[in-house]
């Protein structure tokens, strides 16, 4: 049976560009302290950072939950935001609805969701327009990309 070793939930505020990315760097620091494989930490970091930036750029607020078990690392993100009308389109590399202001922050180039999927062993994205978006990503500890 899978054993849960660590669970942390973080609040992320929309438009909070100054602190955007802090949660992700904090989680990767925890994983480094736990001596998790650096390749796994890299993938978790990319998943969390891109997801965190999406919440900051598009949503009013969101939560990011990080769960470490003896088998995998799971990241669950739920936001209150505009939602994604067409998930297939949003998953296309290069497709973006970002503003110039978002691009000036270095994000919003239509690479975030593809980057998250590429680094996930399991990936689920669900959204309701006008309500928000939920994302689940998991990375197996015995996988190496």
């Amino acid at each position: 049976m899978t054993e849960e070793l660590l669970r942390r939930t973080f609040e992320v505020l929309g438009r909070d560009f100054e602190n955007a990315g802090e949660t992700s760097t904090e989680v990767t620091a925890i994983l480094k302290d736990l001596e998790i494989d650096p390749d796994i930490i890299l993938r978790v970091g990319i998943v969390m950072f891109e997801a965190e930036m999406n919440v900051v750029m598009y949503a009013k607020k969101g939560t990011m939950t990080f769960i470490l078990t003896d088998e995998e690392i799971a990241v669950d993100v739920a936001d209150e935001g505009p939602g994604i009308p067409d998930i297939d389109l949003a998953m296309q590399r290069g497709y973006s609805t970002a503003s110039d202001e978002m691009r000036e922050m270095g994000f919003g180039y239509g690479l975030g969701l593809p980057n998250i999927k590429k680094n996930s062993d399991a990936f689920v994205l669900a959204s309701e327009v006008g309500k928000g978006t939920r994302l689940h990503s998991s990375i197996r500890l015995d996988s190496n990309g």
Binding site: A20, P38, L42, M53, R103, M105, G106, Y109, G112, N115
Partner: protein
């Protein structure tokens, strides 16, 4: 290539550089889009960017990038410099543009991290 040699080559101002002489890089990735850096992460690569906000340093932390060269004379705010110092990320600022910076680095043996 040692980072102190890169500093001289690109005529950089050193913003954070405690371990400058100890660090060597042989690959680099150049972009103002942090998602592009995260799309082809190459641990121990040099990041060359015109994006001088705090996300550049956070991206470096996530992607195991040991050093950033800011082009076009860009330089981050003090809070970003402080974070880089705390996390031992070298920050350099060159007056040169992205194209010339990359051309010089490539000419001195630095390969693209893709």
């Amino acid at each position: 290539m040692r980072l102190d040699a890169i500093r001289d080559l690109l005529q950089c101002e050193v913003l954070v550089g405690a371990h400058l002489a100890d660090l060597e890089v042989d690959t680099a990735i150049a972009s103002d889009a942090m998602s592009a850096v995260l799309a082809s992460p190459h641990p121990r690569a040099l990041m060359v960017t015109g994006l001088a906000n705090i996300q550049s340093v956070r991206t470096a932390l996530i992607a195991y990038v040991p050093a950033i060269v800011y082009v076009r004379g860009s330089r981050p705010e003090e809070v970003t410099i402080r974070l880089a110092r705390e996390k031992n990320i070298v920050l350099l600022s060159t007056p040169m543009g992205m194209f010339d910076s990359c051309g010089l680095l490539h000419g001195h043996g630095i390969k693209g991290a893709t």
